[in-house]
Amino acid sequence: MKGLFVSILARLKRLGADYADIRHERITTESLQALDGEVEGFSTDTSAGVGIRVLYKGAWGFAATNVVNEAGAMKAAEEALAIARAFSAVNADKVRLSEAEPFVECYSTPYIIDPFNVSPERKISLIAGVTGAALKENGISSAEAFLEFSKAEKEFFSTEGAVITQTILTSGGGYHVIAGDGDDAQVRSYPDGHHGLFATRGYELLDELDFMGNLPRVIIEARSLVSARECPTGARDIIIDGPQLALQIHESCGHPSELDRVLGAELGFAGGSFLTLDKLGAFRYGSPIVNIYADPNEPFGAGSYRFDDEGVRGTRVDLVREGVFTGYLTSRETAPSIGGASNGSMRGEGWGGLPIIRMSNICMEPGKGTLVDLVSDTKDGLLMSVNRSWSIDDKRLNFQFGSEIAWEIRNGKLGQAFRNPVYYGTTPRFWASCDAVCGRDDWRIWGLNSCAKGEPLQTAHVGHGASPARFKSVEVGVRKI
């Protein structure tokens, strides 16, 4: 198809386009679900198409089609140009793109075992086995497990001469068990909530996760929640484990540092950001031990890639350095507003998603010591594990997050479990209260497959490196008012 796409781009230039690019993608997905020892779902999906972006007199148009032939692609190109023309007639200010090198490269994410070559029996045994075993345990009313594998084969062409092919292979999965007594139902998940942990890896990830080996602990914890007391209320020191901290980073640092959001692109939907341009390089985001970076090159992250969807090489950027806000996730359109070039953060969901700024892998640098050390060092607090609920305001300041379980910490020892734990606060004050971050031994890159943004809503895979961390005097529990 290369010849066709190059000729379409040339035609768009002749018709007056300032710039245009074409993404041709084919995404293959395999999903399996098991419920209570039975296969609940087993399906495959193939989606192929072309997305064409046109900049005309400083205004954008984007059109995509599943008809991947000359007529279909040409029609999409004309549609994108027509939208851009209509917008250019209304918009007073014009888009200016930062410079970008037109790469001609191929890249594939590394893996050991191609999940699409693993037998169905092996996958089914894994998820039916773990949910069936869970259901045999006293007090467990239901168990559900998930596996999902996807392979995105992408080609990118631009009027500037870029020709990039990438293959991104992603694997992921997890399970949860539900313990109930008729009056209540409590959930415990492994290795993470929200359908598990995702990474740009092969089936070896699932082998390493050891679903079955972790089941006894998960069951004990789920059962303990049914008779547990409600999470107490008031200000407490809290230790947040890796999966929960990953979501905290995602919501309170990742989203607000998206420069398109800062500049207003999501005002009509998800909202803006408190990290306004005047805060860059000057704003005290958190305590001096808080260091957060974005890096699509982080090995095996769910948000790993070499080139973004406007052909820019993804580069590491420090978002928070020693507690000070220092960087944004940028695109070619937004980067000039802070006087730089794009750091390669534009991604669209498949061929039909307009590229918008997305988190890649947003990671908090590890500190020192282990979780055991941190608990030992905590006199009176709570350890909170695995996200259950999340809510944050439209500037990403006022948040309330819930986790599946919390344990009391008294004089350096873990005690009773509490159910329905929540904590809440405002973003800079919360991060300013961070006084300890565990070290590399407890750090891992967590991965979500469902980060939602934009209209029409697009979902993206994102990674978050995190180790447990402690926050001082955080409000917890649901106050009875």
Binding site: S31, E38, V39, G41, F42, S43, T44, T46, S47, A48, G49, W60, G61, A63, A64, N66, A76, A80, A82, I83, R85, A86, F87, A89, V90, N91, E121, A128, S142, E144, I178, G180, G182, A185, G264, A265, E266, L267, G268, F269, G271, L354, R388, S389, W390, S391, D393, D394, N398, Q400, G402, N420, V422, G454, E455, P456, E475, V478, R479, I481
Partner: protein, 448 residues
Amino acid sequence: MMNGLLKDRLIEEGERIAGSKRADTIEFVANRESSSTLRFSSSRFHQGISVSDASFHIRVTIGRKIGVASTNSIERDALDRCLDEALSIARSTREEPFLLRIPGPCRYAKISSFFESTERATNGEKALLVSTGFRDAGRSGVLHSGALSTAVGEIAVVNSRGLKACHPYTFVHLSSVASKGDATGFESAVSNDLTEIDVRGLMSASAGTCLKSSSPGESKPGVYRVLLEPAAVSELVHWLSYTGFGAKGFHDGTSFASERLGEAVTGEKVTIYDDGLDANGMAIPFDFEGSPKRRLSLIDKGVASGVAYDSVTASIEGRESTGHGPFPGDNEGPFPEHVFMEGGDAAAPDMLPLLGDGILVKSFHYVNGLLNPRESLMTGMTRHGTFLVSGGAVKCALRPMRFTENILEAFRRIEAVSRETAVYPNGSFPLGSVSVPYVLIDGFSFTS
């Protein structure tokens, strides 16, 4: 950008696949859609998105084994490969403990969801409609953000039991956020017919709310009497239907309705039902398995009364589908997607005086109902208009506030429900909606 409707072609391919006799049952679900989304920010168009796509889902059963595959290509060889894939999965998977019963031929209600006015409108014409709103607001220094989205599509369901169903549709949704400094206002409307959407009027209304929202004051956390406008109520009812009225949650015990059907769960002023045939919402004659839509009572005068089932969950429990087969590929199970909260006997303009002293909430943001779904505990922020009301009149704007509340308990404290209702989108498929009234609640917890 869609090349006309392909009803005959979709049915023909469906009959070919479903009639292949290569499995005990074969279902074919096709959805073609061309959508256009014109996004604007600060009175400037920044994203124009036109997508033409299709999905063809094939579900087969061999005995008690089920296989599902899908493709977005209508080419015959791609559909054949898709069938092969579904058969391969069915052969390699394990037997289910139940035999999937799919619907046979059905009669459907006649519903008009397709409007040429929507299909014919060009992106240039739609941009012009919105830009008029930009100019109006510009005079008062208000900027507009939001999106005008349209879709033209068709869905076809064919199965090996002889079921055939096809429905064309159009869809329009305007969301308008007006802003000036930190003050904002919001309006939204959804319809099948573009001419039914008063783009200029809605943008003007959101600008009006924005101008009233300036210089907001602080309000302390506490329990307040509240008047929730329909946009706010829609979020709560959406989450109630998501966490409470689906068969999966009911089965696994996480739903508040589990073991409580027949019990009073709210006050008597609350009646919630699902009705895909009601043209006051975004109606559709059948679900994604071809089962006819019909009214399903969820809460009747405060009493929990029903749960949504598709063929899978119905087969597991040995009952009939309620017509809530989800969009193919959705693994969360069936949910009500055409939800109505019944209007009451109060006139909307009388509700502010009825409130007396309290807080008026125009809409909520980022509501999450997963805190403790068994207890319908939800949290979220007020957004785009929060006002302190004194003596039945708006006194001043307030900054956004966070609520954390057991919604079913709050619905026990409902004092008044308006006759007037408004419709909002519900779910990812265009023909889903939630229709709700204004609600006055005597006691709603704002926690920060």
